[in-house]
């Protein structure tokens, strides 16, 4: 059997993680925007009976869509790992890289597992008391939009690392874009307060403008991660298929040392 | 003296900016009827235009775009026009809808 070329690429781990990142964000977009239509979000001003109608209108879609996230949602870790790696390449303390890793790893549970559980539980028994169904509806949307701190602090950590970095792993303008993205997490806060209007969880400011900024930000960092991988130079060293004492993956010994 | 002239320039810029800001007090008086503010398209358009002019002055003088490469000069001017056009466009469209 012919050995795939990717296996001999020194950057194979980076490329795998990058394609998995693309896969994860595509899945995310398809599930939230197309299958479940939970983005753009439902109306926060719905009465309990309207919420019943909202669930009835997408019963199967919610269950199937979020089942896909239940299966593949963990792939979100690939983009986190790539970004953590990018910060490790910068001339800053490892504290930045590990902070980013932990912040985003932790954010997964309130940030997207909660909405999946809430919407699944809501669609699971459509005959539930409408008041309770609305309670679930609120839990889903507000946990999703309203998990703010981890993304705010995470963006600031990444920004600082980029601005301090002398290796120019990421361009400085992207450092500043991190600040813009962090500010959207400030702007989303009113969605905890308003049931309607531009600041509600589906509002023009708290949702549409924020999503536009977040979309640009995500697109930018996926492309920049690709550039980083393309630039990455592992030298001409052989693939480590050497005897254990030499080949124990210490190609970048100083870099991977504990 | 060049050095004197230059610092005067920044001072002049500041004076102009402050003068425009104070002019708002006059505009405001024009759109207040017996202590109650009244809607006025002229005031709105004027206020936005004045603000945008101030932004351009800040960019040109304080932010030193005046001596920057042509690309940045054109880009900032385009941006100022874009912001003005967006705000005025939305305002007038909103007026028409209402």
């Amino acid at each position: 059997m012919k050995r795939p070329a990717l296996l001999d690429d020194p950057k194979r781990e980076l490329w795998l993680a990058w394609y998995a990142t693309i896969g994860f964000y595509s899945l995310y977009t398809v599930v939230f925007f197309i299958i479940t239509r939970t983005q753009p979000p439902g109306k926060p001003w719905y009465s309990p009976n309207q919420v019943v109608g909202w669930f009835a209108g997408r019963h199967e879609d919610l269950l199937i869509g979020f089942a896909l996230i239940f299966i593949l949602g963990g792939l979100s870790a690939t983009s986190i790992a790539l970004i953590t790696y990018s910060i490790r390449r910068m001339t800053v303390s490892r504290a930045f890289a590990y902070s980013y890793l932990i912040l985003y790893a932790v954010s997964a549970v309130p940030g997207f597992l909660f909405i999946c559980v809430a919407m699944t539980v809501g669609a699971f028994r459509p005959d539930r008391n409408p008041e309770i169904l609305r309670w679930i509806y609120d839990l889903g949307f507000l946990s999703f939009s309203g998990t703010m701190g981890v993304f705010l602090i995470g963006s600031l950590i990444w920004m600082l690392a980029i601005l301090l970095d002398k290796n120019r792993v990421f361009p400085v303008w992207f450092g500043y874009l991190n600040l813009c993205n962090g500010l959207t997490e400030v702007v989303v806060a009113p969605s905890w307060i308003f049931h309607a209007g531009v600041f509600a969880w589906n509002g023009v400011i708290a949702w549409w403008i924020n999503v536009a900024v977040f979309g640009l930000y995500t697109g930018a960092f996926i492309l920049l991660l690709r550039n980083m991988i393309l630039r990455e130079d592992f030298g001409t060293g052989p693939m480590p298929d050497l005897p254990p004492e030499e080949g124990r993956g210490h190609m970048l010994a100083e870099f991977m040392a504990p | 003296m060049v050095e004197n002239g230059f610092n005067k320039r920044l001072f002049g810029v500041w004076l102009i900016l402050v003068a425009i800001s104070l002019a708002y007090l006059g505009i405001d008086r024009a759109a207040t009827h017996r202590g109650i503010p009244t809607a006025s398209t002229v005031v709105t358009v004027g206020a936005i235009c004045f603000a945008v002019v101030k932004v351009r002055i800040i960019m040109r003088e304080f932010m030193e775009v005046r001596t920057a490469p042509r690309v940045l000069r054109l880009l900032t001017d385009f941006w100022v026009l874009l912001m003005a056009a967006a705000m005025l466009g939305v305002y007038l469209a909103g007026k028409a809808v209402a």
């Binding site: 361009p171 400085v172 303008w173 500043y176 874009l177 600040l179 813009c180 500010l183 400030v186 702007v187 009113p190 307060i193 308003f194 531009v198 600041f199 400011i205 403008i209 536009a212 | 050095e3 004197n4 230059f6 610092n7 920044l10 001072f11 500041w14 800001s21 708002y24 007090l25 505009i27 405001d28 109650i36 503010p37 009244t38 809607a39 006025s40 005031v43 206020a47 936005i48 603000a51 945008v52 800040i58 960019m59 304080f62 932010m63 030193e64 001596t67 920057a68 490469p69 880009l75 900032t76 941006w79 912001m83 967006a86 705000m87 939305v90 305002y91 909103g94 007026k95 809808v97 209402a98």
Partner: protein, 198 residues
């Protein structure tokens, strides 16, 4: 403003053509953030036209002269940081540092005026949740205030740069100043839209 004559600058900006102040990257931020703010302004203006009377009523609770005063304070801080850049360029770092502190001082005065204004309005019963106009008022002034607070950090970087002989980088000085000016002109727009627009 009595310091003006004393701070006569020998550095002439005219001589330094074809130079992007602060580097390109900060301009990306300024232009991007301008777009984000413009989108907020458009949303505000549109909603304003749809509820004209309610907005006018809310607006009548604001003190225009206080807004004008805040604007002048912030314009003065911008002026100070512009002088700071020129002193740094001419190698007069001690003076540049003084101008940076002056900038922060004006920023602080602005912040205090802002807080006084907020407290006054809240005592009058105008809060973030009390009416449409004040939703926008508190949102725009608060998000601007967040930019201002970031600006104090930026000024800290500026002073730090000017204080150490080895780390004085003119580009960084200009980057910090550019950020501060953008905080200034965002306020110029917010002021016109909240206090003056009818």
């Amino acid at each position: 403003m009595t310091t003006t004559e004393r701070d006569v600058s020998r550095a002439s900006g005219e001589g330094l053509s074809e130079h992007v102040p602060g580097g390109r990257d900060i301009w990306f931020f300024v232009l991007f953030e301008s777009l984000v703010f413009t989108s907020y302004f458009c949303v505000y203006l549109f909603n304003r036209t749809q509820h004209e009377q309610a907005f006018l009523l809310g607006q009548s609770h604001l003190l225009l002269w206080l807004g004008v005063l805040e604007t002048i304070v912030l314009l003065s801080s911008s002026w100070a940081v512009a002088r700071c850049v020129q002193h740094a360029r001419a190698g007069r770092f001690e003076r540049a540092r003084r101008e940076a502190f002056l900038t922060a001082g004006f920023g602080l005065v602005f912040l205090i005026l802002k807080i006084v204004e907020w407290v006054r309005l809240i005592h009058m019963g105008d809060t973030f949740t009390s009416s449409q106009f004040f939703q926008y008022y508190f949102f725009l002034t608060a998000i601007h205030c967040v930019h201002l607070l970031v600006g104090f950090v930026v000024l800290g970087v500026l002073v730090y740069q000017l204080s150490g002989e080895k780390r004085r980088s003119q580009v960084t000085v200009e980057t910090c100043a550019t950020y501060w000016h953008s905080v200034d002109f965002f306020w110029v727009l917010i002021f016109a839209l909240l206090y003056v627009v009818r």
